[in-house]
C-alpha cells in the first residue's frame, strides 16, 4: 500500500492572473482585443498543459504497453499516470474504471455499443431529455434504427430546468438506461444528477451522464453520485482535442463486450479464437492518443490546483453580470434561466439572425457560437432555429463581458 500523498492546498484564484497562463488570450483579432466567449465549444489551453505535452513528446515518448525498452516504459508510466489523475478528478475508486476515448462522443457511443446494444430488445426504452447534445441522442437513435429501441423524451420546464420527478415519470418497466446531460451546452441547466440516479436505481435502471460541460464547471464525485457511466471530453476541460474519458462502474465494464477491435484490447488471438483484455484495455484498441492523454492529465492537475469553488463563483458572477446587461435590452430573449445554471448564456435577438450577429461580434473581437449548438431537439422545443451563445471560462473577465455587450449594441445599430 503506497502512502497517500496529501494534495497541496489550492492556490487562491485570480482570473486576471490566470490569463497570463493562456497565451492565446493576448492575441488580437482584426486588430481588436480577443474576448473569447466560445468556451462551451472548446476551451483554450494553459501553458501547463502545452508544456506537459511538449515535455513528454520531447523526453519520454514512445508507444505504450508494448516495448520493453526504456522509453516505452516511461511512456506507459505517463499514460497510466494520466489515468490515475482522471480517476482522482472524478473521485472514482479504481483507475481501471477510467477508459480513455477520443472524446465525449466516443465515450457515449462506447456505452451504446458495448453496454446497451447486446441486450436491447424491440420496444425497450432509453430515457433522455430534450436538451441533450446530438452526441447523447444519435448513439441511442442507432439503437432505435437497428434494434427497435424507443426514445422516451423528458421535457424541460420553460426556464430550462429539469426535475428528477420528470425523469422518474419517464422511467417505465421497459427502460434500459437514462442518458442525461450533467449540464446543458445551451441552457446551462445543471441537472439534479444525484436524485435522478437514486430514482433510476430504485427502478433498477442504470444512468449515463454526459459530463462534457458538467465536468468543467462542477466538482464531480462519481461515488457520491453513484452514477453508472460518466463521459467527459478533454478539449472543453482546458486539455487537448482527441482525448476524452469514460468512467464506468467496474462491474459494468467487466461485463461489456469490446468496442473497436485491434491491438492492445486482447489477451490472446489465435486463428479461431480471441480472448479479450480486462477493462480498460478492452476498450482501448490500437495505439491510443498518448500525448493527448498526458495533456488531459495535466489539465485535470491544473484544475485540481485551482480553487474550484472560487472559479465557479467567478463564472457565476460573469454570467449574472452579462445576463443583467443584455436583459436591459428589450430586444433580447435569454433561453435558459434555470436556478443554479452554469455559465452559459444563449439568447435570441429580435430582428437579428444569430449568424449575422456572430459575424459582427467577431469583427469586434468577440468569439461566440451561433447556430443550433448540436441541440436541434432543444431548438425545436423553444421554437427557435438558432441562438447566439456566450459561454464563460475561468479566464474570462468583466472586461470581456463589456466588450461583448458593446459589440451587441453595435450589431443592433447595423442590423435592426
Amino acid at each position: 500500500m503506497s502512502a497517500q500523498l496529501k494534495p497541496a492546498p489550492p492556490k487562491p484564484f485570480d482570473p486576471v492572473a490566470s490569463r497570463a497562463e493562456f497565451e492565446i488570450l493576448s492575441r488580437t483579432v482584426y486588430g481588436k482585443t480577443l474576448a473569447y466567449l466560445d468556451n462551451a465549444a472548446s476551451a483554450q489551453k494553459p501553458k501547463a498543459v502545452l508544456d506537459a505535452m511538449r515535455h513528454f513528446a520531447t523526453s519520454d515518448y514512445a508507444n505504450v504497453h508494448r516495448g520493453v525498452h526504456y522509453l516505452s516504459a516511461k511512456a506507459t508510466d505517463a499514460y497510466e499516470a494520466a489515468r490515475v489523475k482522471v480517476r482522482s478528478f472524478l473521485h472514482a475508486q479504481n483507475p481501471d474504471e477510467i477508459v480513455f476515448t477520443k472524446g465525449g462522443t466516443e465515450a457515449i457511443n462506447l456505452v451504446a455499443y458495448a453496454f446497451l446494444a447486446p441486450t436491447i430488445e424491440p420496444g425497450d426504452e432509453i430515457v433522455l431529455t430534450v436538451m441533450e447534445h446530438h452526441s447523447n441522442i444519435v448513439p441511442w437513435h442507432f439503437l432505435c434504427e437497428r434494434q427497435g429501441a424507443v426514445l422516451k423524451w423528458v421535457d424541460v420546464a420553460d426556464d430550462g430546468s429539469v426535475s428528477a420527478d420528470a425523469v422518474d415519470a419517464a422511467i417505465g418497466p421497459k427502460t434500459k438506461l437514462v442518458a442525461i446531460s450533467h449540464m446543458s451546452n445551451v441552457l446551462g441547466t445543471v441537472t439534479p444528477l444525484k436524485q435522478i440516479v437514486a430514482r433510476a436505481h430504485a427502478k433498477g435502471v442504470p444512468v449515463l451522464a454526459d459530463g462534457c460541460q458538467g465536468a468543467v464547471h462542477a466538482i464531480v464525485d462519481v461515488i457520491d453520485l453513484d452514477i453508472d457511466f460518466y463521459a467527459l471530453t478533454g478539449h472543453k476541460l482546458y486539455g487537448p482535442t482527441g482525448i476524452g474519458a469514460l468512467y464506468g462502474k467496474r462491474a459494468h465494464l467487466k461485463a461489456m463486450r469490446p468496442f473497436n477491435g485491434g491491438g492492445e484490447m486482447i489477451k490472446e488471438v489465435s486463428r479461431d479464437r480471441i480472448t479479450y483484455a480486462d477493462p480498460p484495455a478492452r476498450f482501448e484498441a490500437g495505439t491510443p492518443p498518448i500525448i493527448e492523454a498526458v495533456g488531459l492529465g495535466a489539465a485535470v492537475d491544473y484544475l485540481a490546483g485551482c480553487d474550484r469553488d472560487a472559479i465557479a463563483a467567478h463564472e457565476h458572477d460573469l454570467l449574472a453580470y452579462a445576463a443583467d446587461a443584455i436583459e436591459e435590452f428589450n430586444w433580447v430573449r435569454v433561453i435558459g434561466k434555470a436556478p443554479g445554471k452554469g455559465a452559459i448564456l444563449a439568447f435570441e435577438a429580435e430582428g437579428m439572425h444569430a449568424h449575422d450577429l456572430a459575424t459582427i461580434l467577431d469583427r469586434e473581437g468577440v468569439a461566440v457560437r451561433a447556430g443550433h449548438h448540436c441541440a436541434q431537439v432543444l431548438m425545436e422545443r423553444f421554437g427557435v432555429a438558432s441562438t447566439t451563445r456566450a459561454s464563460f471560462a475561468l479566464y474570462n473577465t468583466r472586461t470581456d463581458v463589456d466588450q461583448f455587450v458593446c459589440a451587441l449594441q453595435k450589431a443592433r445599430s447595423i442590423l435592426a
Binding site: H355, D356, T359, R363, H372, A385, S386, K410, I414, L415
Partner: protein, 151 residues
Amino acid sequence: MDESLRELYQEVILDHSRHPRHFGELANANRVGEGHNPLCGDRVKVYLVVDDAGRIAAVSFQGRGCAISQASASLMTDLIKGRTIAEAERLMGGFLHLVKGEDAADIAPADREHLDVMAGVSAFPMRVKCATLAWHTMKSALEDGEVAKSE
C-alpha cells in the same frame, strides 16, 4: 466601422432581407426544391413555374435565415424570373464565383450590376454557404424537383 462589415451589410442587402421579393408559396409551382444549411439549421424552399419553352415563368421562396441568405434568395428571384433554365444555371455559376472571390467575368454586366452587392461576402468565408443556399436550392428544384401531378 470595419469596411468589410459595411460592405457585407449594406443597405440593399438589409432591405432585401427585411422586405424579401417573391416571398411565399407559389400554388401553381411545377418545380420545388428544399435547401438546408446544417451549420445553422436554416431552411429555404424555392418554388418555380417552368413553362413549356423551358423558361422560368414564375419564382418564389420561403424560409427563414440570416440576412445574407434571405437577401441572396430575394435577389435571386428578381434575377432568374423570365430566364431559361440554362441561363439561370449560368447565372448561378457566375454568382458562386463572385461570392467566393473568384474571377466572375462570366456574369453579364447587367446582372453584375445587381449582384455586386453580394460581392462583400467573399471577405467572410464562413458565410459563403449562407449566400449560396437559395441558389443551390433553385438548382436542385430544376434538377429533381418536378412536382408530381395528382391526376
